[in-house]
């Protein structure tokens, strides 16, 4: 019975997101990006890292749908593979940061006392640095690369997750239903999972949704600055950086990945807003 009701709650949440027009748009666009990323090898017209000096800086044409960059690489194909990287790094780093942050926040909120104090001081330390600076410092130590980029971004997300989870846990823990469960003899482990975590989860999901777009923006930013992904890997940040020098003569080189990035970020934010409204018990009929 519990499984069945959980699933119906999930279905309810889904329909609550779907009921919002802007969230539906956001979901549709994100889905299109995900599909483009998944099927990049089939959709691409060229090898994304094949350089053809003779065909450099060509405007969009039949051969190169979105033109070529200064190395003669096909921008359309690079855009598809870049989506792969952006989404993988975005979701991967948020997932990693979320797991670590939620564990820390949960521990701090439930343990209290010295444990909580120690954890929260570490979290304060992490939060003292802006995400970009923290990730840059981390990458400077570890060196560039996709996996290091994921770790660096994940680290910068641990703080915010830990902080909000802890405050949510403190709030939920004071609710009469947690005390009621204890009085009823529900074991501690079960109280944490079924009563505390279940009620903290919506906040976590909403925050994760917002963080994905921040992660993708940061990833592009870091690559733009030259501390993220190394060339010639197809990456939007790198593409923008590379096209920056030719912005007046060949605006499509930087412009197209820029627009692709902007559309994805807007769509992700619409989706996150929809999630928030759907999961907030105070908003209308939705749970």
């Amino acid at each position: 019975m519990p499984m069945a009701t959980r699933r119906s709650a999930l279905a309810e949440g889904w329909s609550a997101v779907w009921a919002q027009r802007s969230a539906r748009w956001g979901m549709g666009i994100v889905l299109a990006y995900v599909l483009a990323a998944l099927f990049a090898p089939w959709l691409a017209t060229h090898d994304p890292v094949h350089q053809a000096v003779e065909a450099s800086m060509q405007p969009p044409s039949a051969a190169h749908w979105l033109g070529t960059d200064s190395f003669g690489q096909d921008i359309y194909s690079r855009l598809l593979y870049g989506a792969r990287l952006a989404l993988a790094i975005g979701f991967g780093s948020v997932l990693l940061g979320m797991v670590a942050g939620v564990a820390l926040g949960l521990l701090a909120g439930l343990a209290g006392g010295r444990t909580e104090w120690a954890i929260m001081r570490v979290v304060d330390g992490l939060l003292a640095f802006p995400e970009l600076i923290l990730a840059m410092a981390f990458l400077a130590v570890l060196g560039p690369g996709v996996d290091n980029l994921v770790y660096a971004l994940a680290l910068s997300f641990v703080g915010p997750f830990a902080r909000t989870v802890r405050s949510d846990v403190l709030q939920v823990r004071a609710q009469p239903y947690v005390e009621a469960a204890r009085l009823m003899g529900v074991p501690m482990r079960e109280i944490v999972v079924r009563h505390v975590l279940l009620n903290v989860a919506p906040g976590i999901v909403v925050q994760a949704g917002i963080r994905v777009s921040i992660a993708i923006l940061l990833e592009s930013g870091l690559s733009f600055l030259g501390v993220g992904v190394a060339p010639p890997t197809p990456d939007w940040g790198l593409m923008i950086a590379e096209g920056r020098a030719f912005i007046t003569m060949a605006p499509w080189i930087a412009g197209i990945p820029g627009v692709a990035l902007a559309i994805l970020l807007v769509a992700l934010n619409l989706l996150a807003d929809g999630l928030r409204d759907a999961l907030d018990p105070r908003s209308g009929e939705a749970r």
């Binding site: 019975m1 009469p176 009823m184 003899g185 529900v186 074991p187 009563h195």
Partner: protein, 327 residues
């Protein structure tokens, strides 16, 4: 002492003080409970009656083991409650059920009613998992709710329905003792009446011991066979409902009875003023400042509870009726 005469709960001179960090003279002490004595016999239904701030909720939290007494002891079946909890918390948790005043708040908002009522059965393994939905339906029927409620969430039910669910959840753990804190307060009179009828039937049918906290003497007298009147952290009068209603021995009890609105006479307000602050209790009788029949001695000696008519206890130097037996 043989088994049948040991009360389910014995409260032995329990005190509870809270330190408040305000005031210029350092921390201030609040006496929430001050020398409370009470026996709760198996199968009885006891109402704790008093104005807000009288300490009745603190006493119930102590009986549930949520607060420890500062001094004195609480016995469960003649054994110290702290010992009982240390030895087998789960057994105590099953035997003693609590119905919260904030019934909705006492239910996980992300659980369905079926999960909420099923939880104690699942946790204490009272029934095999596949029988639980059927048991939930039976309990819902018993408290007068349709079985379809099981798939809904607490926020989808009305205040009265949620209280019924809270009662059903208490019954689900098959308890010996049910404690309820203002379980009918804040409901429409008709909803209140049907809930009271339900509770009265259940108590009679299941032979559970009931501890019912209320500020309403009418509710107390309808539901319970014993009343303990609390005032500023002490029990002023205890005894069988009928004899207290017919002849209140403590002026405070009489005051409470008279401030109860009735159709056949104009409303008097015999209890003048507010309950004094438990931070600085007056010397002598704690009710002296509001007592209509205060005597000079009342501000000097703090009256101890004395037996009256053999079955009642009253903490008053000049009880209103009956013979005072030697203390």
């Amino acid at each position: 002492m043989n088994e049948s005469t040991v009360p389910v709960f014995s409260v032995l001179d329990v005190e509870k003080r809270f330190l408040l960090r305000k005031g210029r003279g350092g921390p201030v002490e609040l006496r929430a409970l001050d020398g409370v004595r009470l026996d709760i016999e198996a199968g009885s239904s006891v109402a704790l009656v008093g104005e807000s701030g009288s300490g009745k909720s603190t006493l119930v939290r102590m009986l549930l083991g949520l607060d420890r007494p500062g001094e004195g002891r609480v016995l469960y079946d003649g054994i110290d409650l702290q010992q009982v909890l240390a030895r087998d918390r789960s057994r105590f948790a099953r035997e003693v059920a609590f119905v919260y005043q904030d019934a909705r708040g006492s239910m996980n908002p992300r659980f369905t009613i079926g999960e909420i009522i099923g939880e104690p059965m699942r946790v204490h393994r009272l029934h095999p998992a596949q029988d639980i939905p059927r048991r939930v339906a039976l309990l819902l029927e018993r408290v007068g709710l349709p079985a379809s409620v099981a798939v809904r969430y607490p926020h989808q039910l009305s205040g009265g329905q949620v209280r019924r669910v809270a009662v059903a959840r208490a019954l689900a753990q098959e308890p010996r003792v049910i404690m309820a804190d203002e379980a009918v307060a804040g409901l429409d009179v008709s909803v209140q009446a049907s809930l009271l009828n339900l509770l009265r039937e259940l108590v009679a049918e299941l032979k559970v011991t009931l501890v019912f906290v209320t500020h309403d003497l009418g509710v107390a007298s309808y539901l319970c066979n014993r009343i303990a009147v609390m005032y500023l952290g002490r029990i002023l009068e205890t005894g069988p409902v009928d004899s207290i209603l017919q002849g209140p021995a403590h002026p405070y009890t009489r005051g409470l009875l008279e401030s109860f609105p009735r159709f056949d006479r104009p409303l008097r307000a015999p209890l003048r003023g507010e309950i004094p602050s438990p931070v600085d209790l007056p010397a002598g009788c704690r009710f002296a400042s509001r007592c209509p029949c205060v005597q000079p001695q009342c501000t000097e000696a703090d009256p101890v509870a004395r037996a009256l008519d053999g079955r009642r206890l009253v903490a008053c130097l000049f009880p209103l009726s009956g013979e005072v037996a030697a203390a």
